[in-house]
């Protein structure tokens, strides 16, 4: 990595700026960083942490990003083998609640594979072997104490092509709570269905036709139905695997807005091959390339001043 232009920067006394602007910025960029050894900056100084270059050279570690909070999910040296082929190499990353973390990278770089590790969907592939430690709230998700069926209720997933069950809209959303026993009466179930559909922004459009088939909806509506279905079991994390790639721009925009609204309640990880979408929707971005995690950091920094040459090449369209 060529460092010759980057000189040590003396910290600048922050200039107080209007609190409204900074509050908005803090909400967009996620919580501020806390640097050990420095007096804790006030909330006004969200952006004035030590600059990117000064600290760790590791591709994986952000510059003391998000210290002081526990991650919702963490992965440590996760590798995935398909038979003999190593598809994912020693990926370590943290997913935080209240944040949308985007995984970007070219096709076949392992981002979807990694996402599927987080709710153990790779278990369904016979030739796949996962090494390394993945934790949810500090608990190893492969331990016997963590049941995979419950894990998947706590870590929900939305897929690339909308795949509602060929049942009624109501049944689609009610299925999860029913099998997990989350409601004790019909009216309670009704309430869960309504709440989930409202949170997914679909209630107004379907409230009069809950008994109609889920597959009769438009593509964008189907995807929102799938999101409602995932929400209905009250997960803590929502994983999204290229949720908008099969949708038109307006439906995509609606889903992106939905993600923004959901952010406060769930930790969200989204895989996308559309960099502009990652830029719009996420606060943290991880760039994968050839099975490795090349860079991870604040979205605003990754897209204005990435630290790695490979990242720069990819996001400016010089890749390949």
């Amino acid at each position: 990595m060529d460092m010759k232009e980057k000189m040590p920067i003396t910290p600048v006394t922050p200039v107080p700026t209007p609190s409204v602007a900074i509050a908005a910025e803090a909400r967009e960029d996620g919580p501020s960083t806390v640097e050990p050894g420095q007096p804790e900056p006030s909330k006004l100084d969200a952006e004035v942490a030590a600059p990117a270059i000064a600290v760790s050279r590791e591709a994986n570690a952000g510059p003391q990003l998000d210290t002081g909070r526990d991650p919702k999910m963490s992965a440590n040296d996760v590798s995935v083998f398909y038979g003999e082929k190593k598809a994912l190499k020693d990926v370590s990353i943290r997913i935080y609640e209240d944040l949308v973390t985007a995984f970007i990278g070219p096709s076949g770089c392992g981002k979807s594979t990694f996402l599927r590790c987080l709710n153990r969907m790779n278990d369904t592939i016979p030739s796949a072997r996962v090494q390394g430690r993945i934790e949810l709230d500090g608990e190893d998700i492969t331990s016997p104490a963590m049941d995979v069926v419950q894990l998947r209720a706590r870590v929900g997933m939305v897929f690339q092509k909308p795949n509602p069950f060929p049942k009624s809209i109501y049944e689609n959303v009610a299925y999860g709570p029913r099998i997990h026993g989350l409601s004790s009466s019909r009216s309670e179930l009704d309430g869960i269905v309504e709440k989930s559909l409202k949170r997914a922004g679909l209630w107004e459009e379907v409230k009069d036709r809950l008994q109609e088939s889920g597959t009769a909806l438009s593509g964008g509506q189907q995807q929102r139905l799938c999101i409602a279905r995932a929400i209905a079991v009250d997960p803590e994390v929502i994983l999204m695997d290229e949720p908008c790639s099969a949708l038109d721009p307006i439906a995509t925009a609606k889903i992106e807005e939905l993600i923004h609204e959901l952010r406060g309640r769930y930790a969200i990880a989204i895989v996308t091959h559309n960099m502009q979408q990652a830029a719009r929707v996420s606060q943290r971005t991880a760039f994968f390339h050839l099975g490795e995690l090349v860079e991870y950091g604040k979205t605003s920094e990754i897209f204005t001043n990435p630290r790695q040459q490979r990242t720069q090449d990819y996001i400016t369209g010089r890749y390949g």
């Binding site: 060529d2 010759k4 232009e5 980057k6 920067i9 003396t10 600048v12 600059p51 990117a52 270059i53 960099m275 502009q276 830029a279 990754i302 897209f303 204005t304 001043n305 990435p306 040459q309 990242t311 720069q312 090449d313 996001i315 400016t316 369209g317 010089r318 890749y319 390949g320």
Partner: protein, 230 residues
């Protein structure tokens, strides 16, 4: 961060190169305007000065063209990271270079106002100051073309010399005015000329900061201290 290879979309490369070429072109015009204006001042060449004033229109047109292209690039190409910083820098630099051209124009406008009576002592200092200032402009735009942050930094350091020049000329002119009230008119004009040149130096420094940021992604946090003004 180096701009390693070209974009997969070749047209993107072409767009960025055209933008940068416009900046180079503007820089050349501005430099020429400064040195020409100074020559006309020394040689009392009123026709040359009128030409400089006319030529400033070209610079204005180029600035508009640059802005148009930059906005188009942002809308159509969605540049990221280094590319985005390049485009924003080009946008800002074009405005600054246009202002530098305006300063040269102002100097040229004063040429007919300085009567050919006699040799004015402080006038001899001005060409050297102009050389310094226009040299800064030249070098900083080279740094922009090369994406060379170190070169940009060194341009910043030279501003001190220009400021020192201004201080000396100021004192010399003051003295000149005090010697003979007859001289006040002309000296005042020369004072403005010197001020314009000093501003050119400052603007070159501004450009250097933009170049630095575009090249490295970090703002040039330190600026050399300025000597106090009266």
């Amino acid at each position: 961060m180096q701009q390693a290879s070209g974009h997969t979309l070749k047209a993107f490369d072409e767009d960025i190169e055209r933008l940068r070429a416009l900046i180079s072109q503007m820089g050349g015009l501005a430099e020429h305007a400064i040195s020409e204006a100074m020559r006309c001042l020394v040689q009392r060449d009123t026709e040359g000065a009128a030409q400089i004033v006319q030529d400033d229109k070209k610079l204005d047109a180029l600035e508009i063209e640059t802005e148009r292209r930059a906005v188009q690039l942002i809308a159509l190409r969605a540049p990221m990271a280094g590319d985005l910083r390049d485009v924003v820098a080009a946008l800002k630099i074009s405005g600054v270079v246009e202002r530098i051209g305006d300063y040269a124009k102002n100097i040229a406008k004063r040429v007919p106002l300085i009567e050919s009576a006699g040799r004015i002592e402080p006038l001899s200092l001005l060409p050297e100051m102009a050389r310094l200032a226009s040299g800064m402009v030249h070098d900083v735009l080279d740094a922009f073309v090369e994406r060379d942050a170190q070169a940009a930094l060194s341009v910043c350091e030279r501003d001190e010399a220009v400021d020192d020049f201004y201080d000396s000329i100021f004192r010399a002119l003051l003295t000149h005015m005090m010697e003979n009230p007859h001289n006040i008119g002309q000296s005042a004009h020369l004072l403005f000329v010197a001020k314009n040149l000093e501003r050119v130096g400052d603007h070159a420094t501004n450009i250097a900061e933009m170049v630095y940021y575009a090249a490295t992604g970090i703002h040039m946090a330190d600026r050399p201290g300025k000597s106090p003004r009266l």
